[in-house]
């Protein structure tokens, strides 16, 4: 399977480990990601609040640069994914906007036919194109005994996500379960990490981050798995700030789901950029280093008095 690949600015610097681990996992799974030549920034969340037409044009340039033989574009960053997808969709939905954007692109000798590309988030590709079954088959060092909080953030499933339930997404849960991890029910899994609010009104962002960390800690998570460089940065780099602001002592490493995939596939920590996170994952990962055999999950005999629970449709995976 071959995809055009839009890494986005973060993956060159702060989220370099996301890029390395993605490439490592792709190699294992036989996925080919062809980076778009001369790509530029997607404008993140800010540019769209300032001036729409230049913002759309900025994003559309990346779409226009995708070689003709590729029809699907993969984006690992949630913000990039949403911007690329939104631009393609709106250029299609509003032909006037499409024409204006193409006029701007024409200045650089480019043009993009809206609807040509299918923009996909990396998680979507992993769970829907590769599939849980294939992923499970590649696991050589299951993450048994590791309690992971699956954190989706607010962007990939809403409003245009389309590949998972916007209120209660479960694709990352199932992927992590396929890796052998123990996935906690993480009620805040699709709530906001604060985004760039850390730069604008830090107190608001700290509270949003605190909620996420507190909830993961309440459920005794060993680490948080994320799929967006912004989420990772906020939860990881601001964890110390949050601790000093609220007087808490959270110590929750935040890793990319691709890093966990690579580890489960038996790749070394160095190969997937482990150690570049600020809150060290060493203690948490020591658990898998021990190779704890997977506990036999025998269904507990229901207590005579207890009432049965309704089952959820995706519990089998």
């Amino acid at each position: 399977m071959k995809y055009a690949y839009y890494p986005g600015c973060s993956l060159e610097r702060s989220a370099a480990s996301y890029h390395t681990s993605t490439m490592a996992v792709a190699g294992e799974l036989g996925l080919a990601f062809q980076e778009i030549p001369d790509w530029n920034c997607c404008g993140a969340t800010e540019y769209f609040s300032l001036n729409l037409l230049p913002a759309y044009s900025l994003v559309a340039r990346n779409l226009a640069l995708v070689p003709d033989d590729l029809s699907e574009l993969a984006a690992p960053c949630s913000a990039c994914y949403v911007n690329l997808k939104k631009t393609d969709k709106y250029m299609h939905k509003y032909p006037k906007l499409g024409a204006q954007v193409n006029e701007a692109l024409a200045a650089g000798g480019l043009q993009y036919k809206a609807g040509r590309l299918k923009v996909r988030h990396l998680l979507d590709i992993m769970v829907n194109d590769v599939g849980y079954q294939t992923i499970a088959e590649h696991v050589s060092k299951p993450l048994s005994g590791l309690r992971v909080a699956p954190y989706y953030g607010c962007l990939i499933v809403r409003p245009d996500g389309g590949f998972d339930n916007p209120e209660q997404p479960t694709s990352l849960d199932r992927l992590l379960r396929a890796l052998g991890a123990e996935v906690i029910d993480y009620p805040l899994k699709a709530q906001c990490c604060g985004g760039h609010m850390t730069q604008i009104t830090a107190n608001v962002a700290y509270e949003l981050i605190r909620r996420l960390l507190q909830n993961a800690a309440d459920y005794k998570a060993d680490l948080i798995a994320c799929l967006c460089p912004m989420c990772q940065l906020n939860l990881d780099a601001y964890q110390g700030k949050v601790n000093s602001h609220f007087g808490t002592d959270y110590n929750l490493p935040v890793l990319y789901f691709t890093q966990l995939m690579a580890l489960a596939f038996g790749l070394s920590g160095d190969a997937v950029g482990l150690g570049s996170e600020i809150v060290s994952s060493a203690a948490a990962l020591a658990k898998i280093g021990l190779e704890v055999p997977k506990p036999e999950a025998k269904p507990k005999r229901p207590d005579k008095q207890a009432l049965p629970m309704p089952t959820m449709p995706d519990q089998e995976a």
Binding site: N165, E167, Q168, D185, P187, L188, R211, Q214, N215, D218, D303, Q305, A306, L307, P308, M309, P310, T311, M312, P313
Partner: protein, 670 residues
């Protein structure tokens, strides 16, 4: 017919309904000059007995042999004027109606154009009526047997009413016992009488009535025929218990080693055995083996039930039985499904242990339920200190069902009352969008609840979570909602949440509708013939609907519909034979090539294929005269009586000539 055509035209004023816009006198005067018109009159109310007498007198005295009434819609008064013709000795099919009210005076204020259009419509009818032929209606005898599908309260009610009148009833129920959803409930609103106490006597009567054949654990496979003469095939699923031998002692259930979650009667909140009777008062009393869970069917051994049965009533080899019955009328009372609250994941049902749906709570509060009526959390022991009740779950929501489920407000109020009653001192919060309590004694019940101290928060619940954010929230379920009266977000920590899930049509409603030849709304509720004036009949004669299968309904309304459907059925049975409209399709056997195209096009399965002749044949009693087959016939061998080509062409010519006369555009006449 060689007799000279003499048309009588009667233009109705309908008070000012028509005459206020259309110059009716002018129309009548103008129509007098149309070809074949013998007499043309206008009159205040043609439908009055004096108006009808005008027609009758002209037929008798002036030799009028075709009648056109320009008035309202045929839906309204076609029968009236056909009757007037019949009384005067004229075949009713020699009458034609021009609709100058709904199609004309009610839709414009332009008097000149309205008058011109009325003329065009009258001219069309006059042109058509000359080509109309006398037709004779068909009469078919009615089989007094009645099939009732669904043994909930609506079906039971209909069955008892019909059976009491002395007519035989087949009552078919899918589950092992009749009783339906009502048997699961604890109390009924607003009187709070015990649901089982008022239902079980009716169930017992239905089970023991000499005129009712009870077919539980059975489903209708196939229906053919028409009003008065349906043939129905019913699959009686194997119970693996011989009913003639079983005494209902219950030894088999007691000895059965396999315990399974009861998703049906206990709404998933309790357990039953693999051989079971859904509940103690089940009718009939015979248990049934659930072959999917029975150890014998899994591993080939066990047979504990057989060993302990004192009357040797267990038969592991019993097979499904197909029963064919003939009935004259059918009542569908198939009920509803509960909305699956798991479809709204942010409300936590299925993830958070102490979120219950409404049927679970019914079982929880029921004295015969899994906790003996104790309201407790999912651990089965702890009584909640605070309970939130969420209204409109899956109802009035464009993401799920747009309609109001109608019962949930009252049901939620009842729940609040039961919590107050069983757990004094507990706090109850009702989250609602609007409180809708239309019904006898319902509003009074709401006020009673207000006085009992229930908290009412007007706001749709955004989320139910166990992620604590503030002190006091730890270990609780937090209900987050926007209080639209205060204009603020509220987070209420509670121990238990009850989701008042809405009502949905049965998952297989569409298939059932197709099987019985009736139609479903977009929400898959069965469609009645007329929402106000014919609420239990359907467009298919002889098939009636009652209860929640037609739309969300509470018990009183379901019972009323059960009785209404019974009355409609009895009125048909009392006629002994039924008249079928003569406007049916007919095959010209000389030109029919036997391609069977019409068989596939007929929505009522009313065309049969005569293999020995290689011709299609219309079963007149089944034909509704829709004309689809006429359009589908490649060799133009089917025509529709009363809608023949020459009649329709004459009608069009009449309209178009008048349009030309007044230089009207097509739009104005359309």
């Amino acid at each position: 017919m060689d007799e000279k055509v003499k048309v009588g035209v009667y233009v109705c004023h309908c008070g000012t309904n028509i005459a206020g816009v259309v110059d009716v006198e002018e129309v009548a005067k103008w129509a007098a000059n149309l070809p074949n018109v013998e007499v043309s009159r206008d009159y205040k109310f043609m439908c009055s007995s004096l108006g009808q007498e005008l027609i009758e007198a002209d037929i008798k005295e002036k030799g009028v042999n075709r009648v056109v009434v320009a008035s309202c819609s045929p839906h309204m008064h076609e029968r009236t004027f056909r009757g007037a013709c019949s009384r005067a000795g004229l075949n009713p099919y020699l009458f034609e109606m021009a609709n100058i009210r709904e199609h004309d005076s009610w839709v414009t204020t332009d008097k000149l154009q309205a008058t011109n259009k009325a003329k065009a419509l009258v001219a069309a009818a006059v042109g058509r009526v000359a080509h109309q032929q006398p037709l004779e209606s068909l009469f078919v005898p009615i089989d007094p047997h009645v099939l009732i599908v669904g043994g909930g309260v609506a079906g039971i009610q209909a069955a008892l009413e019909i059976a009491d009148s002395g007519n035989p009833v087949y009552l078919v129920e899918r589950e092992p016992s009749i009783g339906g959803h009502m048997a699961q409930l604890d109390k009924t609103f607003p009187t709070l009488d015990c649901s089982a106490c008022i239902l079980t006597p009716k169930m017992f009567d239905a089970g023991n009535h000499k005129n009712i054949t009870l077919l539980t654990y059975s489903e209708v496979e196939e229906v053919s025929g028409y009003v008065g003469n349906f043939t129905v095939t019913i699959r009686k699923k194997a119970r693996h218990v011989i009913e003639d031998k079983c005494t209902g002692c219950g030894a088999c259930t007691e000895k059965c080693p396999k315990r399974v979650v009861d998703d049906a009667f206990e709404a998933g909140l309790g357990y039953r055995k693999a051989i079971y009777r859904p509940f103690p008062q089940a009718v009939p009393k015979y248990p049934v083996i659930d072959t999917e869970n029975c150890i014998y069917y899994e591993r080939g051994k066990c047979k504990a039930c057989q060993m302990f049965c004192p009357t040797e009533a267990i038969d592991f080899d019993q097979k499904d039985e197909l029963i064919m019955v003939k009935v004259g009328n059918i009542v569908l009372a198939t009920g509803y499904d509960l909305f699956d609250a798991r479809r709204i994941p942010q409300l936590g049902y299925g993830r958070l242990a102490n979120v219950f749906n409404s049927l679970e709570f019914e079982r929880l509060s029921n004295a015969a339920g899994p906790t003996g009526g104790k309201i407790v959390l999912r651990d089965g022991v702890t009584a909640p200190q605070s309970v939130a009740i969420v209204h409109c779950v899956g109802s009035r929501d464009r993401n799920y069902n747009r309609y109001c489920s109608s019962i949930c407000c009252m049901q939620s109020l009842k729940f609040a009352h039961l919590v107050h009653e069983r757990l004094p001192g507990s706090e109850v919060y009702n989250f609602y969008i609007d409180i809708r309590t239309p019904g006898k004694g319902y509003e009074e019940f709401y006020h009673r609840l207000l006085e009992e101290g229930t908290h009412f928060i007007r706001g749709r619940v955004a989320e139910i979570t166990d992620a604590a954010r503030r002190p006091g929230e730890e270990g609780k379920l937090i209900v987050q909602a926007e209080d639209t009266l205060v204009g603020a977000q509220r987070r209420i920590p509670v121990d238990m949440v009850i989701l008042s899930a809405g009502l949905q049509s049965r998952a297989d409603a569409k298939e059932v509708a197709i099987k019985f030849g009736i139609s479903c709304s977009t929400d898959q509720w069965f469609i009645e013939k007329h929402p106000k004036l014919d609420p239990v009949a359907t467009m298919t004669d002889g098939v009636f609907v009652a209860g929640a299968c037609q739309g969300p309904k509470d018990i009183p309304a379901s019972v009323a519909q059960g009785s209404a459907a019974a009355a409609r059925v009895l009125s048909i049975i009392g006629q002994r034979e039924i008249e079928i409209d003569a406007a049916t399709a007919i095959v010209n056997e000389e030109s029919c090539v036997g391609c069977k195209e019409c068989l596939a096009s007929c929505p009522y399965q009313s065309i049969e294929f005569l293999a020995h002749k290689n011709k299609a044949h219309v079963i007149e009693a089944l034909c509704k005269g829709c004309g689809t087959c006429v359009g589908s016939c490649l060799s133009k061998s089917i025509s529709l009586r009363h809608f023949t080509d020459d009649q329709l062409v004459a009608e069009m010519i009449g309209a178009m000539q008048t349009m030309n006369l007044f230089e009207m555009s097509e739009l104005e006449v359309a």
